[in-house]
């Protein structure tokens, strides 16, 4: 590499005199320098720590739930405890892990780097957003410690407003608070992507991950206020006795469902669009090919974000909605699957004529494609009214949304975490362990959730702690899979922690990737780049027209020159 005439306009970090502490990690070591930081990279680390804690809290609850379900009888947990545990699992995983996972960790870290900015548009708001997220999470965990909540993560009324004597208000307040974190993050990303792109970084030169963050941010900003209002109404009804949803006083419980799913169906896309962004980056890098149909991929992201707002009604086919309304929602739910299908085909097409390598991030990405496809296809079952009527609120639905939200979203999060780990921490991790964990996670996941499709079709309802014995075989398989999955999730916790302490120094671009974030040191300096980036071409310049690929050697993270 040469020090002059770099196509990005950046000085080559390896060639600079690096006598000073330049890493953002080394830019202050006090607790204060972390808790009051406005550096998007440090805030990303703060989020990563919080969501990891929440992930393992939610995971512990899931483990107990699966333990109870290994037998048809209630032999581990009482009904009440079980209800509180699955609620805890859902509340923590959805609101405090899945929704902030990719946007607030990887997104926060990468969006400014990928567009050549020094920070996000509103750095202080970014920090406030983390405190709101943490504060909301602490309220919810406080509710758990004080006695728990038994409503399920959906807080359906009138059970949650009038009948439940548990800590609903505090939990709802926690979710309400964390919603502002989402809104702030969304505003920040939109501002950043509009205002702070480096010279030459046009909209259609943005990496797909940035596009995914942009569309996700639009959903954050447009949908979350509806959730906030809904939760506020629940609080008002519980606290001041206002008859909003209570049918005995003229309220309408179905209104709650409309409002709730108007947010919570787009929320599914909030969880999966970022995952799509991550996977696009991984597949193109490890296939060493430009993304197949980049513009279609962008349009598909936008289409999912837009149509995703009009499909919420398919959660309520059994609630007695008008059959004509049901048809409209059914139709739109089929249509929203089209852009998702386009994305799957384009990821597959990206592999065609590539140089496919199987490092751990790629294993997660390929696993994602399979799990997302199966999850998406079973979504068509739920869009078909007669089939939905049968499987609604059974384990079929549980399996479906776990394939999307866990199989796809969490796989992508882990893939992205492994891919950008050397950039974020400046350390490498043991690749063999990482590959083993990725494969174990894939098999553990399928063993856990595939049997639930069958149990659900046979008629096993969700949220049951005891069940008719004929469903047992499928639950035993599922519980066994959960044990495998638990091990697979604990492994990265082990070897990534090891990597932080003992891992080798990472090079600046261990995967030989083409993104702008790899054109700086690992870890990046506080100001992100050495020099001002200038962008002269589209993303994913892996396989230029008419030129044979140059990257033939496997590029594993290796010892770099930077200390």
């Amino acid at each position: 590499m040469s020090t002059t005439a770099s196509p990005t306009g950046l000085a080559d970090p390896d060639e600079l005199d690096l006598g000073l502490p330049v890493s953002y990690l080394a830019d202050g070591h006090s607790v204060r320098s972390w808790l009051l930081t406005t550096d998007h990279k440090r805030i990303a680390i703060l989020y990563a720590v919080t969501i990891t804690v929440f992930f393992f809290i939610g995971g512990a609850a899931a483990t107990l739930v699966r333990l109870e379900l290994a037998t048809p009888e209630a032999d581990v947990l009482r009904a009440d405890t079980y209800n509180k545990l699955f609620t805890l699992h859902g509340v923590v995983m959805v609101w405090f892990f899945l929704i902030p996972s990719i946007p607030n960790t990887l997104g926060n870290f990468l969006v400014p780097l990928m567009i050549g900015a020094r920070d996000v548009a509103f750095p202080k708001l970014n920090l406030v957003s983390w405190y709101l997220n943490l504060g909301g999470g602490l309220l919810a965990v406080a509710a758990l410690i004080l006695g728990g909540v038994d409503t399920g993560w959906t807080f359906y009324v009138p059970y949650s407003t009038v009948f439940s004597n548990t800590w609903v208000s505090l939990t709802v307040l926690g979710v309400f608070t964390t919603g502002f974190s989402s809104i702030a993050t969304g505003v920040n990303f939109i501002g950043t992507i509009h205002l702070l792109r480096a010279p030459g970084m046009t909209w259609f030169r943005l990496p797909l991950f940035v596009w995914a963050m942009y569309t996700t941010s639009l959903m954050f900003v447009l949908a979350t206020p509806v959730l906030a209002v809904t939760l506020l109404l629940v609080l008002a009804e519980r606290t001041f006795g206002l008859p909003i949803f209570d049918p005995a006083r003229g309220g309408d419980p179905i209104l709650f469902q409309h409002l709730f799913w108007f947010y919570s169906h787009p929320a599914v896309y909030i969880m999966v669009l970022p995952a799509m962004g991550v996977v696009s980056e991984l597949i193109t890098c490890f296939a060493r090919r430009k993304v197949f149909g980049y513009t279609f991929m962008v349009y598909a992201l936008v289409a999912i974000a837009v149509i995703g707002f009009f499909t919420w009604g398919h959660h309520m086919f059994t609630s007695g909605m008008s059959p004509y309304a049901a048809l409209v929602f059914s139709f739109l739910s089929f249509i929203v699957a089209v852009p998702s299908a386009i994305k799957v085909f384009n990821w597959t097409g990206t592999l065609y004529r590539g140089q496919v390598g199987f490092e751990s991030p790629m294993l997660y990405a390929l696993g994602f494609v399979g799990l997302f496809t199966l999850g998406g296809l079973t979504g068509l079952f739920l869009a078909s009214i007669p089939v939905d009527v049968h499987v609604q609120d059974t384990y079929f639905v549980v399996a479906h949304f776990h394939y999307i939200m866990v199989g796809a979203s969490v796989s992508a999060y882990f893939g992205g975490l492994h891919f950008w780990w050397p950039k974020i921490t400046g350390r490498t991790y043991p690749e063999t362990w990482a590959r083993f964990a990725a494969i174990l996670m894939f098999f553990g996941f399928n063993l856990t959730f595939f049997p639930q499709f069958i149990a659900g079709y046979l008629g096993m309802p969700r949220r049951y702690h005891v069940y008719p014995p004929e469903f047992q075989i499928w639950n035993v398989l599922s519980s066994a899979g959960a044990a495998v999955l638990a091990v697979a999730y604990l492994m990265p916790l082990g070897y990534l922690t090891w990597s932080l302490l003992f891992g080798e120094r990472a090079t600046n671009n261990p995967w030989d990737a083409s993104g702008l974030e790899w054109r700086t040191t690992s870890p990046p300096p506080r100001q992100n780049f050495f020099g001002s980036p200038r962008i002269q071409g589209g993303p994913y310049n892996y396989h230029p027209e008419g030129v044979a690929p140059v990257h033939d050697q496997p590029r594993l993270p290796s010892r770099g020159s930077l200390t």
Partner: protein, 355 residues
Amino acid sequence: MTGLLVPETASLQAVLTDRIFLGLTITSALILALVVGLVLVFSIRYRRGSKANRHPLPEIVSREFEIGWTAATIFLFVFVFWWAASAQIGAYSAPPNAIEVHVVAKQWMWKTQRSNGAREINELHVPVNAPVKLIMTSQDVIHSFFVPAFRLKRDVLPDQQTEAWFQATKTGTFHLLCTEYCGTDHARMLGRVIVMEPEAYASWLSAQPEGDDLAHQGERLFAERGCAGCHAPGSRVHAPSLAGIWERPVPLAGGRFATADAGYIRDSILQPGRDVVAGYAPVMPSYAGLLDDGEIQALTAYIRALGSEPAVVRVPGAPEVRSNVPGGVRERSPAMVPGAPVLDVPAPAGPGSRP
């Protein structure tokens, strides 16, 4: 009772649903096989270091592929939508000759009742090959009536009425489950649907005692517990008449007004000295501890049935009570038992009750 992979198919609707389910399963399996197959083939053929051809595709070919699979996907999904939707529309309304069954869900049991008053708890006997229409409501939270073998599910909402219908095609006993989470014992809110041959059903039905509806029970209690001694027209003790007061403002001592709803009637039975009707002496004793919740419900139902004059209309030969309750929000949710306002009674006390 069910197979290992496929649930038992025991209704007309189940056959339809299974057909769509099978079609979707085959389509999905093909698409999944295509995607996974291509991913595996490309990954292996174009693995790093293999000697495959890697010349870039011409732009025009990429575009054709893109348009091709987008169009194919849209066509396929719209076709599946049309197929599933047409089955849905065709099966929406119950035939007019369907047997009507009223279902009341509450934490945590299913109560069913027929027009002749025969009642069951957590059971529903029906004849085979006859359409059955369910008219459902809930006394507390949202429940959902689910019979897997019939592919039948419908939410049961408080203060609203939902309907569903099925036609069983097989005799036997089938699970009736609640699928909308409804509180602590949600998982134990189970019942059975027993599908019988028509003759067996007829003899079962004729062996059922004709039940009283709530308002009739209340009428009996009204006499037995001494209410009639004061409140009946022409009684010796001077007490306000109850005819026609339901949901109407009642003048109280001190110039206030109370609405004679379920809560006021309950309070008046348990704490009669609190809100005495203007012009009457506070002579009524408290019935706290003497009447249980069910009895208060029945009495409330009776007072509702009294409505306004003419209060009770007896149809000769049929034990039906018709109340002409004045208008209001409740008219949109007719009571399960004709005349008996099960929708208006307070939820039973205990954990999970209204504060």
